[in-house]
């Protein structure tokens, strides 16, 4: 049985969805992002080693963040190298892919 509080929770989330959905329709692309394209291409054929590494290692566990500044791309890749046991070559390819 759904309680009143659960129903209130669902309604709250629906309102949030409507709010963010409306906000998204007016969002302009930000020039300092580097993962936006990667997110969109997740299911497509990889065109480079870096993209293949991204698809096979990063999105295996989590959805990619929509955007992030290039100034932290090296830190993100280093984190991925440690967490996903990437080799040095894979780290460099992934960095090239995120900073074309």
């Amino acid at each position: 049985m759904i309680t009143k509080s659960s129903l209130a929770g669902f309604l709250l989330l629906a309102a949030a969805a409507a709010f963010f959905g409306a906000a998204a329709s007016g969002t302009a692309p930000t020039p300092r992002t580097s993962a936006k394209a990667a997110t969109k291409r997740q299911a497509a054929q990889p065109s480079s080693d870096g993209e293949r590494i991204f698809q096979q290692n990063c999105s295996r566990c989590h959805n990619a963040p929509e955007t992030f500044p290039q100034s932290i791309s090296g830190t993100i890749v280093r984190h991925m190298r440690m967490r996903a046991n990437l080799s040095q070559r894979e780290e460099q390819e992934l960095l090239k892919y995120l900073n074309p």
Binding site: S5, S6, G9, G21, H62, P69, I72, R83, N99
Partner: protein, 348 residues
């Protein structure tokens, strides 16, 4: 002696924070792409189990700091507030809070095949604890019923870890993790004395990962934990299948989770239907794990929605069957994943 434990814990945190600050400062002239980052998730969840609703706002910040080409410091913490019904025929809610470090580790990349990790780290048993436990990653807001098997109470170890890719070829790769953890009663770095590891075989063409884990508890009554996992993500599809089996000396269980993101940035493409099946078997009542005390089956049906700006809505319904109680579990939550530089670096 017990009364001094929190004071020692706070002193340890102060020392570690000072160390982090020194390391942070030393990385200032680093490359433009290596700016330290702050990431994590902020969420608000509700869970209704058998008619009783619990609310829990949570913040999980993560800090990552590269030091030169070979060193990396990373830490994650949890700030959790829980509001649950008072119970015992009493009206209203009671609340409790928890603040603690999940891990604080330093890593040294020795070569292409070996990374040495020291400090407090996530125990590498199975896949859930290391990969899916962050609040901004998990598809369901609660972990599997067997999540505590092989990772003990805290989920963290205090000691050293060796990990890397033993073999990396175009058609397959073999990864490994091995660790040793000392016993620690420190408030922030609670850990059991244990040792173990995990081996993963990944086939890129098939997008198939098969792995095995083993842990031995080396304090009190020595116990063995073993596990297997299979992850499959078919090529050119937004479908993911993850499953894991774990066996301890007091309980056995498995979970299998499937998710499908409809794809694209359209309104409908952002939906992500989920399904998870879980089953646990209690071998005896002696264990200190949090696996249900009686044999339990559970089916979770979820529907997540990936909003723009790294916001995600998680909803699910589960039916749990056991000899003591059958219950409905309704869960709703919203999570915002943040990710930004610790300061404005050269690359901005």
């Amino acid at each position: 002696m017990q009364a001094h434990a929190p004071a020692r814990g706070h002193r340890a945190i102060r020392v570690l924070l000072t160390l982090c600050l020194v390391l942070f400062s030393s990385s200032l002239p680093g490359a433009a792409q290596n700016t330290p980052l702050l990431s994590g998730g902020v969420g608000f969840f509700s869970s209704t189990f058998g008619g009783a609703t619990t609310y829990y706002p949570i913040i999980e910040p993560l800090a990552a700091l590269p030091l030169g080409q070979h060193f990396f410091v990373e830490s994650r913490a949890t700030l959790l507030e829980t509001y649950s019904p008072s119970g015992n025929s009493t009206q209203g809610y009671q609340h409790s809070h928890f603040i603690g470090l999940t891990y604080l580790q330093g890593a040294a990349i020795a070569n292409s095949h070996l990374t040495v990790i020291g400090g407090s780290f996530l125990l590498p048993f199975g896949t859930y604890n290391e990969r899916l436990s962050p609040v901004w990653i998990g598809n369901f807001q609660d972990g599997p019923l067997i999540a505590s098997l092989g990772v003990f109470g805290s989920g963290s170890g205090l000691g050293g870890q060796l990990r890397g890719s033993a073999i990396s070829r175009a058609r397959y790769s073999l990864d490994y993790v091995a660790y040793f953890s000392a016993r620690s009663n420190n408030t922030q770095f609670n850990a059991d004395r244990s040792s173990g590891g995990r081996v993963d075989l990944y086939l890129p063409e098939q997008r198939l990962e098969i792995g095995a884990s083993y842990v031995r508890l080396l304090q009190g009554t020595h116990e063995n934990f073993s596990g297997m996992h299979v992850w499959w993500e078919p090529k050119d599809a937004n479908f993911r299948l993850r499953s894991e089996f774990a066996r301890g000396q007091h309980a056995i269980g498995y979970w299998s989770e499937a998710d499908y993101r409809l794809g694209g940035d359209s309104f409908w493409g952002r939906f992500e239907p989920l399904f998870r099946l879980q089953q646990t078997f209690r071998l005896n009542q002696n264990g200190g794990d949090s696996v249900p005390l009686v044999n339990t089956q559970r089916a979770d049906f979820g529907l997540d929605y990936n909003l723009p700006h790294n916001v995600r809505i998680l909803t699910s319904y589960a039916r749990q069957f056991s000899s003591t109680e059958n219950a409905n579990v309704w869960e709703t939550g919203i999570v915002y994943r943040f990710l930004f530089p610790a300061w404005k670096g050269k690359g901005l």
